[in-house]
């Protein structure tokens, strides 16, 4: 579904990721983890072209993606992204935000049907009642759910999540995780989740990719990651046991 080969990316002249390779199967929940600043967001942005990669190949459904892609490219209608800051457009209501991809790409499409579809997606994330609210009137968890509804609206093949639990309390984070998992199992949409929340990884990870020192440190199933002998992987999952005391 998504295959990345020897991807090297960074900012200006600074290399943040070097020779990263992995592949994601259809419908899988693929979790990218690692310490803060190791380049998780950069990897996601490189794949979607917000930080055009220096070198390497990206294959999406067996066709090669060459960045920078123009916005009109089909690729952008087949992916959904949940940004760390939710990134709902502040001047539009929740419903208008969710409808945005439809109204922008299919200006001829009936507005009434677009509204209906937006309503359905908002109901999926339990936000139907808040559809006329502006983003700034919503709590952090609600914004995340609203952004998920927007990401879902064009029925994407893959959804990228950038630290979806950041800034949420554990109870809300759990509800959000369970919602993600439910929708993943219902629609078989592939998930690419960037996170470092252990609880969330435990709940949702099927495959994991761990980044450290600009490279891939571990790649495999979640169960194998737990059994890994690599020191940094062991330490990540058992911080108290393996870390030196300060």
């Amino acid at each position: 579904m998504l295959r990345v080969e020897n991807l090297t990316a960074g900012y200006g002249e600074e290399i943040v990721l070097k020779d990263v390779s992995f592949s994601i199967e259809n419908g899988e929940r693929f979790v990218v983890l690692g310490e803060s600043g190791c380049g998780k967001s950069t990897l996601m942005k490189a794949i979607v072209g917000l930080v055009p990669p220096f070198s390497g190949d990206i294959f999406f459904k067996e066709s090669k993606i060459v960045h920078p892609l123009p916005e009109e490219s089909d690729f952008y209608q087949k992916i959904g992204i949940l940004y760390q800051s939710s990134a709902l457009i502040t001047s539009l209501t929740l419903e208008e935000n969710v409808m945005l991809p439809i109204t922008m790409h299919y200006p001829e499409f009936s507005l009434k049907t677009a509204k209906d579809i937006a309503g359905e997606k908002l109901a999926m994330v339990n936000l139907y009642k808040a559809k006329n609210k502006l983003p700034q009137e919503l709590s952090g968890g609600m914004k995340k759910r609203g952004a998920l509804a927007r990401a879902l609206v064009l029925d994407p093949d893959i959804i990228f999540f950038d630290e979806p639990q950041a800034g949420l309390d554990p109870v809300t984070a759990r509800e959000l995780d369970l919602l993600f998992i439910k929708l993943n199992e219902q629609f078989k949409t592939t998930y690419f989740i960037v996170t470092h929340e252990l609880l969330s990884i435990r709940r949702s990870a099927q495959k994991v990719l761990m980044l450290a020192d600009n490279k891939v440190l571990f790649s495999g199933t979640y169960e194998d990651a737990l059994k890994s002998d690599i020191y940094k992987v062991k330490r990540f999952f058992n911080v108290d046991k393996y870390s030196k005391d300060v």
Partner: protein, 347 residues
């Protein structure tokens, strides 16, 4: 062998004075030992001891246990080590500055061309632009600005006419106030006053709006939803600006000339005489070029505002800085462009 007693009451208030006293005491003696019997190792005391040890390394030393507490290990210095910076040569500095300016100029030019291209392309392809967004923008850029534009243009028109009238009256020429007001407003001040107000009011808000959208990842989100941020954000503003600026300029002209009218009534000139003369001095050519000027000012303000907004990197402080720069740069460019127009049109 002199024993120097380190007092127990060193704090932020007296630390510097005590250091100086101790340093002097040490420098006057060849061999020194510290009396640390009463010492309290607070931050200031530790800093004083460090400074003494650094400045008189061959004279003083601390017992191991205290030394361990006083000196700290600077963690992983290599990571924070500043790059050795040689102040660059004059020509290199100038070169770098010019190069950076060149880069900015190119980017600005690209924005300007893209903006005009997408705005005209929009007439044939309505994709990526929200319905009613142009009207909404025109409302904020234009309608909301009418009172302030009217008021300022009126006051400036009035003040200038008054000063001119005082001088003209000395030569018995107060009957020319109408002509002077009309010409100066339509040729120069109308478009200029309007552009400066709009740059301060709307140019800044465009930068703040787009800059915040960049910081909040909204621009990224637009792009990855397959929506051209450029078209989505700039086209409605472009058309709103293009439609609204000539109207605002017209309002400024009327307000400024009204200021002149008030002055000429003070000088006992009949209203209909003023109006006749005003209509005589109102040239189609001036109105046409005034409109051209006001539209080009509008495009400059919009391009500068969005250029500064799209270039924001960082957080809220970066948005603030960009907003200030946007106003300064766009007012400068408007005035400079106005000077160029004057040279071309009236010399």
């Amino acid at each position: 062998m002199k024993t120097v007693k380190i007092p127990s009451d060193i704090d932020f208030k007296n630390g510097d004075k005590i250091y100086l006293r101790l340093a002097e005491e040490i420098s006057q003696n060849d061999e020194v030992t510290f009396d640390l019997s009463e010492v309290k190792l607070n931050s200031v005391t530790k800093a004083v001891l460090r400074k003494l040890c650094n400045n008189f390394p061959e004279k003083v030393s601390l017992p191991d246990d205290i030394e361990k507490e006083v000196n700290y290990i600077r963690d992983d210095e290599s990571q924070f080590e500043e790059k050795e910076s040689v102040p660059p040569q004059f020509f290199i500095r100038v070169g770098e500055y010019v190069y950076a300016l060149y880069g900015k100029a190119i980017f600005f030019f690209v924005i300007m061309v893209d903006m005009i291209y997408y705005s005209f392309q929009f007439l044939f392809n309505k994709k990526f632009v929200l319905k009613h967004d142009t009207t909404r923008n025109a409302y904020y850029i234009g309608y909301k600005a009418i009172p302030i534009v009217f008021l300022l243009a009126f006051l400036i028109g009035f003040t200038i006419a008054l000063q001119a009238a005082i001088q003209l009256a000395k030569m018995g020429g107060q009957t020319y106030i109408a002509m002077m007001s009309t010409m100066i407003m339509t040729k120069e001040l109308g478009p200029l006053i309007t552009a400066i107000i709009v740059a301060g009011r709307t140019g800044s808000s465009i930068t703040a709006e787009i800059g915040t959208m960049v910081v909040m990842e909204e621009v990224d989100a637009l792009k990855t939803m397959g929506i051209k941020p450029f078209k989505f954000l700039l086209v409605p503003k472009f058309w709103a600006f293009t439609l609204v600026m000539p109207v605002l300029t017209m309002i400024a002209n009327i307000a400024g000339i009204t200021g002149g009218l008030i002055v000429s009534t003070i000088y006992n000139i009949p209203v209909n005489a003023f109006i006749t003369q005003m209509l005589d001095s109102l040239l189609m050519k001036d109105i046409f070029w005034g409109t051209v000027k006001s539209i080009s000012f509008a495009w400059v303000i919009l391009a500068v505002g969005s250029f500064k907004g799209l270039n924001v990197k960082g957080g809220a402080d970066a948005v603030g800085i960009a907003t200030t720069e946007s106003v300064v740069v766009s007012i400068f460019m408007v005035v400079a462009l106005d000077a160029i127009f004057s040279i071309i049109l009236y010399t």
